[in-house]
Symmetry: C2
Subunit: 377 residues, 2 copies
């Protein structure tokens, strides 16, 4: 044996309060669900659970889309699943960029040989529908519009209904990132006419990270079926994945992540028990509590009030405060994780998440009290 046996023991993670941009706090019910006995991915009991999962996701997304299921990987893979199935080489896609994740969408388009027409808005601002209208006027051959509903890098919420309506008027399909919005603010796929949407398990659904719920409209499915040439990704080819997630006879495609799916099921049962409207109201209420406290501490929000996400609060780091040292102290002294800035906002902002199970008065109180301690020295 050329590599010796390592002396490594079981990992015992510290207990944290997760108030960054995700993962959020995972409720004990979801953690327990993860530890239930593993069954086979073709077991009739598991197939029944998959059907329930699709029903629960359709409720969360407010859609009747048949093709609604969780991709077996994190949100970034869900993003790629949308693009790799809908964008063929040469396709023109209008991509709205107002933060990190819009930029990642444009990168997806380019790597697939598509043409990304980028509509830029400042970081922290929502997508401006007027600019999207102009982009369609200048590019009448654009086949798709892609935008981020809730920019995780800034905390800005864009007007999805308005953006989807513009795309529809121009005969284009819409791809929406709702990683951070699903479960925290209204996400109404059918009412808005969204054709492809992807989310993540670890934000307002408060499951552990690693799964990406997606949903596709009939128009999106028709586009996928009418595609010229094979999808470049075997793993993400929806034509193949469908055989496992739908239909009378479930055909083996890949081995589904059995226990993580137990966790997602449980988190969606919890959401259905609470009810979407109640969950949205709770996110709003806790945001208002946090806002009052942050403003009392003299802190300012990055995003203007009308576009502010209740579940992701970006604030400017107060002058004279070492932002990284403050976060380290929050983590070490209080076990509290908040998020740093990304990209253009790195080093300048904190991102305070109130997502899913993390959106509780107790978390708000801990965060305000701990922040006051580290800011005031």
């Amino acid at each position: 044996m050329s590599i010796d046996r390592p002396e490594i023991r079981s990992f015992q993670p510290p207990v944290r309060t997760l108030m960054g941009p995700g993962p959020s706090d995972v409720p004990p019910r979801v953690l327990s669900a993860l530890a239930r006995p593993t069954v086979g991915h073709l077991d009739p009991a598991f197939v029944g659970m998959m059907d329930e999962l699709k029903t629960l996701l359709r409720y969360a997304f407010q859609t009747r889309n048949e093709l609604t299921f969780p991709v077996s990987g994190p949100g970034s893979l869900g993003m790629e699943t949308c693009f790799v199935n809908l964008v063929s080489p040469g396709d023109k896609v209008i991509v709205c960029v107002n933060g990190v994740f819009g930029g990642r969408m444009a990168e997806n388009v380019r790597r697939l040989g598509g043409v990304a027409v980028v509509v830029e808005d400042p970081w922290g601002a929502p997508v401006d529908p007027a600019k999207v209208e102009e982009a369609f006027a200048a590019n009448p051959d654009a086949a798709l519009l892609a935008f981020v509903h809730a920019e995780t890098s800034t905390g800005a919420l864009s007007d999805a209904a308005a953006l989807a309506a513009i795309a529809r008027r121009h005969g284009a399909l819409t791809i929406m990132d709702c990683v951070t919005s699903l479960g925290g603010v209204p996400v109404l796929l059918d009412e808005w006419g969204i054709d492809a949407a992807y989310s993540g398990s670890q934000k307002c659904l408060s499951c552990t990270p690693g799964l990406s719920p997606v949903s596709f409209s009939e128009a999106a499915v028709a586009r996928i079926k009418g595609r010229q040439g094979a999808c470049p990704s075997w793993f993400q080819d929806l034509g193949l994945v469908l055989g496992y997630w739908s239909g009378a006879k479930r055909t083996y495609h890949h081995t589904a992540p059995v226990n993580p799916l137990y966790g997602l099921h449980e988190s969606l049962v919890i959401l259905a028990e609470e009810g979407l409207e109640a969950a949205w109201a709770r996110h709003r209420d806790n945001h208002l509590r946090l806002r009052a406290g942050l403003e009392a501490l003299g802190m300012r929000f990055v995003v203007s009030e009308e576009a502010r996400l209740p579940q992701l609060n970006s604030v400017w780091v107060p002058e004279g405060v070492d932002e990284a040292a403050a976060r380290t102290r929050l983590l070490q002294e209080f076990g509290l994780e908040i998020g740093a800035g990304l990209g253009a906002l790195a080093g300048k902002v904190w991102r305070i998440g109130l997502m899913g199970h993390s959106s509780r008065p107790a978390n708000v109180a801990l965060c305000l009290s701990a922040l006051e301690t580290v800011i005031k020295g």
Copy 2:
């Protein structure tokens, strides 16, 4: 709200004994690890766990490869990660096909615009090195050789050392599927000179499904770095993934599946505690027990003795037995899952797994006793 709140309760899976082609039985220690508190994917404690995970994987793979980590998705995504990073349009790849998973490799090559030179062997037989030698003679410009070490669809083990040596003589890199072999029979990446390998968490490692350990040699990394044009997959681009899994400063790429990684860590700690040689011997011993019992029942193996995998036993369904009905009875009456045939072997064989935690005398005894009951009516 256009979609009503569904009335769905928590999912309580049945307790099964998993003796199919994976997932295998998950030990209680791994299930408990999954339920430990979630921390952030950039938490210093988590980064320390990631480093241990890489060390543990290097032991399992018997490699010093720096680029060794678990892909955030199932084995099929690990496969695609190898191909999408190493195959550019026009590249010629010799692909050995002796079952379902070799065929999937060829499909990966074609979808990426590569040229797959297929070397075929009968289902149930190992890859014939002489045919691979001929394929290189006919295709001296082949850049890569791809083969499946342990064909999960048939239970045949191929001579990885011999195949990698042929590729090396012809200046080609080697991609090896060791999804079903890792932890059950020797997998010696460095000794054999394998350049890219992928495995799965849910076979002989006995973790839950959903993660794919991979490892890349320095030559493979050099090929990836020297690539012309961007990797078509943003999510799987190893140049980007590396920033998160390696180096002094960990850069956010995607949100890692935190709790599933706890589970993989625990399963690898268990493997290191037992020791690789002891694990291989245990797989062999339990295979011999099972073989004796199956032969006493008059059953015949699909694979000849010298190429037979101890951890995956393919046997012909006895004449006169309704194979699907027998499996259903095993599941319903005994809670025992065994595998059906895939592809060319569908309806004709059973695949009995003795992988990881499932490779125990108690499982062998249950399987033989239950099989006798359903076969003899």
